[in-house]
Symmetry: C2
Subunit: 405 residues, 2 copies
């Protein structure tokens, strides 16, 4: 007998049939003798509609009212799933964030979980009642509803699993696990049986958006064993665990890509101390996140600074740099939105040299020019022209021996 | 300066444009210096969809989960109207039932309001903040959401007006007031400037469903001055007040009709004591409401019992009577669903004789046969064949001098 948290995303509870199907999944775990808490998202599309209404009424709306409106999506699913479970003969009740309570800080619209008072839930789960918890929502210090930011139900599930000391947190979604890369690009992409938290984080943050990044960070910190699996098909899914639990570490776990980047080059900046701060300080102050950075020194005592920002931030970044032209003292700025970031991720590269070199050689063999390089302990990323994205991903997938049968 | 509760029904907040329009109505009252609390229904159609989902999953669903699901409709409207008010420059915040709290008993799905702890609302309203209250919902003794039954937002508004000692409770709806009869039948129906609580109750319960009956009962008991007015057009609407406030009482306030009745006749029942209890006891036990009753004694020591039930209850009533045939001892049962109940309502008839006689004579002049008669202090009702409904209503409207210019 184990204690399990099951989480169903929006596509897994998209309509009444899917909700009945989710109830059947829960019933199976209950029948196996497990204590179960279920965390649910809003039915697919509902949150977008609610958010759209708030934005239509006021582009800059009160985040407390936004939370009041948007939290209803999960409330509906929680009640409906409880009804479906009862109809299937499973004892169940719904729990709203304020009823548990799941307490958060006061940052409406993007609240962080402070504490989950799970004693009553545990008592009832031990007595055989399934707790159906509305994800994404909590109770703020102002006695008002808060929400955790888009994708927050993943974080609700992991936090609940930690609070309840659950043996496992199963994330039911519309994919059957984590793949070595995007199967839409590489037909021979392989599903991973296990992946380390750190790898999952790197894969998530560069575009493989199966889980909310925060939820993986929290799982890593609280040592919650995550499992990603399909609510549409049977299968073991992928376990996200501590790297110590992975016996046979692959050198590289997967290849990720992101087309949401844009490149900016600031040319012929006088090469003196403080120039990086002059460029990146104002960008940070304007909320523009800078990712990869490379600096080239010229012979004439000037330097070119190249970096990437999120593509949606490009107009804002250009405006900030134009306003700071005098203080930075650059000759010109060029931008390129048609770039892609390709990343090779794997905890195995901590103990193996040559991973980066394999990447560079593979791309060179395909005549793909590397514009920027950045590395971390478990990741090597390069920026290339967007048109080579699929070619690069396929070539690297083969080069690192990831192709499946 | 007055303290006002404004209530907007589903059609008055049906979409974002209507919500903006409602906000403008509220803004006008705030600009006039009034303290305002607003009670909102779910956007038109939303509650039906939520109820439908619950019923699809389980015809006999847990009323606590039903309440959790269905209460979201008003929550969404409350948040959206608060945003619309803020956008219009009006200070406002939403209040959910559990936040006020508005406490109810534990009868989920049809809860009754126990107490509204309005101190914090009053404090903020005095400070100029509009309280936007989600109607229809409350907090049960089990710390779970309750709802007040269909149309419950009217009751929320009246109860809130009583708790806040409001000067007036304005019910914004899709009609511009209470009419002497249905304007779809009588083109010369007149809008009433004032109507007594008792008259409103009789008109509501016989088919003129502008306000939930419970809300009128509560307004009468708590002496809350109600005003029914249109959210779509300007106009003073109709005041629902104590009859003492109506100086020039009309003999008859209005003519109501209902086609939701069915007639049952139980023939040749042995005429002995207890036979009425034998018939109506089992019907009551099965939840069948019996309305008009008439008993005819025959010469042979038997009696015919004729009565009406709600048309939807007819199959159940027939089944109950068939099962009780032996204990009742009747010869046969006949039923007629094609009947209509026509009612003449007016507090003025307390002090005037001849109201019923005018009714009978008017119907006789049109050759309309009266099947059953029932009377109360302020109402005379007759049951007639449904095909004469419009003819009867028009003739009576003219006979009592109600026709407008």
């Amino acid at each position: 007998m184990a204690r399990i948290v099951m989480k169903f995303g929006g596509t897994s509870v998209a309509d009444l049939d899917r909700i009945r199907h989710a109830a059947a999944r829960v019933q199976r775990e209950v029948a196996a003798g497990h204590e179960v808490a279920v965390v649910v998202s809003a039915m697919a599309g509902v949150t977008n509609q609610l958010v759209g209404w708030c934005q239509s009424l006021a582009p800059l709306h009160d985040a407390r009212e936004y939370d009041t409106v948007v939290a209803t999506g999960e409330q509906v699913t929680a009640g409906l799933l409880a009804i479906a479970l009862q109809q299937a003969g499973v004892e169940a009740r719904s729990w709203l964030g304020w009823q548990i309570p799941l307490r958060t800080d006061g940052a409406h619209g993007r609240a962080r979980i402070a504490v989950i008072e799970g004693a009553e839930l545990l008592r009832r789960m031990a007595a055989g009642q399934v707790a159906v918890v509305a994800g994404f929502q909590g109770l703020g210090p102002d006695h008002r509803l808060t929400t955790l930011g888009r994708g927050g139900s993943d974080t609700s599930a992991v936090a609940l699993a930690a609070a309840l000391s659950a043996d496992r947190c199963d994330i039911y979604t519309d994919v059957d696990g984590i793949y070595t890369t995007d199967p839409r690009i590489v037909a021979r992409a392989r599903k991973l049986d296990k992946i380390a938290y750190e790898e999952m984080l790197e894969l998530a943050s560069v575009g493989a958006k199966v889980l909310q990044t925060r939820s993986v960070e929290l799982a890593m910190k609280q040592r919650v064993r995550l499992r990603v699996l399909s609510s549409f098909a049977d299968g073991p899914g992928t376990l996200v665990v501590d790297e110590d639990e992975i016996m046979e570490k692959e050198l590289v776990a997967g290849i990720a890509y992101s087309r949401d980047e844009a490149k900016i080059t600031v040319r012929r900046v006088p090469d003196r101390p403080g120039i990086a701060a002059n460029i990146f300080g104002p960008l940070a102050a304007s909320g523009v996140n800078v990712d990869m950075i490379v600096q080239n020194l010229a012979a004439d005592g000037t330097t070119d600074m190249t970096f990437t920002v999120g593509r949606a931030d490009l107009p804002r970044a250009e405006a900030v740099l134009a306003a700071q032209r005098a203080s930075i003292g650059y000759a010109e700025i060029s931008t390129d939105p048609d770039v892609a970031k390709i990343s090779v991720v794997g905890v195995g590269m901590r103990s193996h040299a040559g991973v980066a070199n394999t990447m560079f050689r593979t791309l060179a063999d395909k005549s793909i020019n590397i514009q920027v390089i950045s590395t971390s302990e478990i990741k090597v990323s390069v920026l290339i022209s967007a048109e080579y994205t699929e070619l690069a991903v396929r070539a690297l997938h083969t080069a690192y021996g990831l192709d499946g049968a």
